[in-house]
């Protein structure tokens, strides 16, 4: 049999056994989320280019843009967050608005091992309230989802951006890399800073809610003073999920509170807290 044309670089077929696993994973997470009061939303794969422009800094060059037959400037969605902000501004849903969305996103990255130009994100967010109960609900939803998938040792690393407010950006970047570069290669004053770091009042209250409302314990989450997360739009709670519970391992999802982003189209601040699973990596690990 002759070979057919290839898929473009960074794009791939997902064979039946893997596709089946993906379907099971997505359904388990979706069921967990629906039980906690999140509902699905779908937004189109294609947005106007200008809806996405100016939102991703240097990464904007990775957006797939094109012009249609009617000379409209269109783009493939780069993530599910900017479309959520557009949706909220246009539909004015009742707050708290808890939605999840599973969707393909597209980035013209250099496809290295395991990196694709089309991949599947599973996002869930609560929009419209600053209440720490919603931070706790997002954390609990992520932990319950991952435990349902069989990751018995998984733990959520949690920190508060507030803890870094006295530091310079370079310091925060160095702290974020402690596990990567090793303690021996980290400046002593930063190690001391980390050692003295404590959960903020907000975090202490969130931890209490996780225990009392969701039956979780320090087996399921921990305070991680080294966690900073690169994306600068987080405003307080920051989250990374560790599949085997080890602070130093690569996370399988991240999130946090971002109170200044969702209002970008609405012309006013709209608080939000959310989490995102990368379904491709998750499927490799299950």
């Amino acid at each position: 049999m002759k070979k057919g044309p290839l898929t473009p670089k960074g794009f791939r077929d997902i064979n039946p056994p893997i596709a089946k696993k993906r379907r099971e994973i997505i359904n388990k997470i979706a069921d967990t989320l629906e039980n906690l009061g999140f509902n699905p939303l779908e937004t189109p794969t294609i947005e106007f280019s200008e809806t996405l422009e100016g939102k991703y800094g240097d990464e904007e060059k990775l957006i797939y843009k094109f012009t249609d037959r009617g000379d409209r400037k269109l783009a493939l969605r780069y993530d599910l967050t900017v479309p959520l902000a557009r949706y909220v501004a246009n539909n004015n849903p009742q707050f708290p608005f808890r939605r999840y969305q599973i969707g393909q996103v597209f980035r013209g990255e250099n496809p290295q091992k395991g990196r694709f130009r089309e991949f599947t994100q599973f996002d869930f967010d609560t929009v419209g309230v600053v209440d720490i109960n919603e931070d706790a609900k997002i954390i609990a939803a992520a932990i319950k989802s991952i435990k349902e998938l069989g990751f018995k040792n998984a733990k959520m690393a949690i920190n508060d951006r507030e803890n870094f407010k006295s530091l310079k950006v370079e310091d925060i970047r160095e702290i974020d890399k402690i596990y990567k570069i090793g303690k021996e290669n980290t400046r002593k004053e930063l190690l001391e800073f980390v050692e003295k770091s404590k959960p903020t009042n907000r975090l202490t209250q969130i931890f209490e809610i996780l225990k009392s409302e969701y039956g979780l314990s320090y087996q399921d989450f921990f305070f991680d003073p080294t966690l900073a997360r690169g994306l600068d739009y987080y405003t307080s709670t920051i989250l990374e999920l560790k599949p085997d519970g080890k602070p130093e391992e690569q996370s399988i999802g991240g999130g946090g509170r971002y109170d200044k982003l969702i209002g970008m189209f609405a012309g006013r601040e709209i608080p939000a807290v959310g989490f995102s699973f990368g379904i491709d990596r998750l499927t490799e690990l299950v």
Copy 2:
């Protein structure tokens, strides 16, 4: 609250209540198909333009094409069938290869009422065998799926292209429109032709299998001598699913046997039989 940017014409958000219904519909069909031995496949949203070119006749102008930063000519997929043909040529799966795929497809059509430029198809096909048992399995899968969704009166209209082999294309087109234009506006010799039409031997055998193997009856399917289907790639069995069991109503899915298409990339004939649900229309009716 300020309004945000719109979605491009023909592209839309799907609100939580509808998105939830879609998820339930998709899961019910997928479960039915997996029970019958079909497995999910995923192919990328983007293919090389040339993979899609020359496959859709006049409709080719509706394909969304664009050039990426590396000057590669890419296209958004137009359906799930050409990607299936590419997949089969590249992966040489064991036959019979029974797969289902749920995916977004893109067509730059003039968006009229209820017509979108991005929509969701649910396809299932058996590739690699001419066996009429596979025709019966596809028909049974579609009927069982639709009954699971609550369409108690749904019926599959079935015909065989073989029945039209003595006719000219214009005659076939006129017969296909009998319910639309009315019997009074149809040429008498064509009405007589239809009245004399009988199930072919293949169809008679398929009907027997549907009864004996799948517990179906003439409550679930019927021979429809007026059914022709526009797409000219069907080679024998042709199918349209009628949600309320009436031959004259708009169908909610169609399919048939197409033995000359899947081999387009493989350089040899590969028989196939399949069916496709339009998830958007199905969701409106459920």
